[in-house]
Amino acid sequence: MAPYPYAVAGVLFVAGLYGIVSSRNYIHMAVCLTVMQSSTYVTLICVGYLNNGQPPITQGAQPGKPLVDPVVQALTLTDVVVSVVVLALVLALALQAHRRTGSVDPDRLRGMRG
């Protein structure tokens, strides 16, 4: 069952997409976006894992065990923090939608036509 971790990542991606398609609330849609983003985190860290590996911290590293991939960790840790503020921006837009139309339901906000 080697590709099981990647199957989990695929499930998260499609689940996030399903959430956006079927959402009736912008806040719910924003959280589904973060679920979709977490599929990339899971894939990144699983790609970087090594069997019997140890964290890439050379202080107090046990000899004989290989270091896990530090590059994917560097990419992921900044992305996680950035996802918070992108979520804050989407929620700010949702708050504006609520202030304009009294609801955060995409159907209620029908400004565009044709």
Partner: protein, 80 residues
Amino acid sequence: MTALTALVLTAVAVLGVAVVLARDPLRQVMLNGLFGLSQVLLFTVLQAPDVAISMAVVSTVAYPAVLLMTIHRVGPQDRG
């Protein structure tokens, strides 16, 4: 691929789908917290402490704070 890794991966998948399927925003925030926690466990098991700290701090403090304030500001929504 140890049993622990498989267990945590399953938790991540199940919680991720649960977050998507939760329609009530409050329930979704709580599930999102659990989903963040399961990712912290996954990153710890996969030997990525930096990312685990990052996810722990974000999913226990930042996500819930921002989401709860927005949900409270928006007020009860009619169940679609």
